[in-house]
Symmetry: C2
DNA sequence: CTAATGAGAATGAACGTTCACTCTGATATC
DNA sequence: GATATCAGAGTGAACGTTCATTCTCATTAG
């Protein structure tokens, strides 16, 4: 089809623009990054950029959606983990340590923007609910398998895990002195204590530290 | 002295303005609240407001400082608590449940702003370090008293506690469905597991829930 | 030729801030 | 006691800037 080439080209252009916008947004935040900045970064004039995205809001929404896709993808590793706590540790490491400064910053930007912008809020809560569901499913599966205790409110636990992750991620983006590597083992131990069967509650105290 | 009356009056006016600004900021955020809004809320013309504060930045900084004072004050209750875990529970309840929507929102606004505004960042990190130090002191005291185990990195634990608090607070401000009351007992239990001496690790499992 | 692609100047609204001015009440002068 | 003088609280229209968005016109591809 002749269409394909043009459509593909359009899609590529959109991706280029989103890439440029992402760089600008991570650097300066949604508000301080002007369309002129983004145009400069994308090597494109404003008039032309507006042929691909109808507004700055649309750019922000586009960035959020890409972020959503990435976040959901990061759950793939969980399915291939041998047991619940190993999967959780991998997820935590990916979320808290492996992500670049820019990724963490962009994520914080989205969180902050969701407080102001209803459009972004809807997208953001969509992501969050999606992730919570996945975590809850993880917990459910682990409970069925007998890997964790079964007298805990799983939905509440999922919320707590998310709040924990958000808090750490946020702190990392705000406090340059914060060291995720130091905190991670403590967190894992804490969660282990909360969820593990009482038998092996005190077992793995400092296996990851030092 | 004749000065006193005038000085007092000036100070009162500044407080009035900060109150108005706080209401506007909590409602619309730092960026979306215009100086006109604040002037309206304060019942005052722009020209006059600028006689008391040199810029919008100065208003924001003023709000942050007041917030700092409040946060520090909330640690008073800890000193009067019978033991560590009781004090921590009170602190957590105050921080996560008792605070109004507006207070939580304003706090989130400050956190977000600190990512953009170096002035606010300095103030915010000042607050945070102050609080971390207090938490670390709490932990140290509890460790000395033998209330908690002594093989934990106390500074790291303080960071984790703060991240936990921030994460919960943030979530409350962003997700209307989030219920702090449900999550609180889980969190307390988790922290108890992390810090309590292994003997009574599994002891208070669901004492607060149900 | 015409339709898509692109550039970049122009537009208009929003906003923080300023400025020239008024109003009020106290103090000093006669 | 009445009047002139003055400080400073308060006003609100206007200014300059920033920024998202649009308009006009050139270039290129089919």
């Amino acid at each position: 089809m002749r269409h394909d080439a043009a459509t593909q080209r359009q899609s590529d252009r959109r991706t280029d623009i989103l890439d440029a916008a992402e760089r600008c947004f991570a650097r300066s935040g949604f508000h301080r990054a002007s369309m002129q900045d983004i145009c400069g970064e994308a090597g494109m004039s404003p008039g032309n950029l507006y042929r691909y995205f109808p507004s700055k809001e649309a750019l922000i929404a586009g960035i959020c959606e890409r972020n959503r896709a990435d976040a959901v993808a990061s759950f793939a590793m969980v399915d291939s983990a041998p047991d619940f706590f190993t999967g959780l540790a991998g997820l935590a490491r990916h979320h808290l340590v492996d992500r670049t400064e820019a990724e963490v910053g962009l994520c914080a930007e989205i969180m902050a923007e969701s407080r102001r912008n209803p459009e972004v809020a809807k997208l953001y809560l969509g992501i969050e609910n999606d992730i919570r569901d996945r975590i809850a499913a993880m917990l459910k599966l682990a409970a069925d398998r007998g890997e964790i205790r079964n007298d805990v409110d799983l939905d509440a636990a999922a919320s707590v895990l998310m709040a924990l992750g958000d808090g750490m991620s946020w702190r990392r983006s705000v406090d340059p002195e914060f060291q995720p590597e130091t905190a991670l083992p403590l967190i894992l131990k804490m969660v282990h204590c909360l969820l593990a069967k009482s038998d092996d509650c005190a077992a793995p105290a400092t296996e990851t530290s030092q």
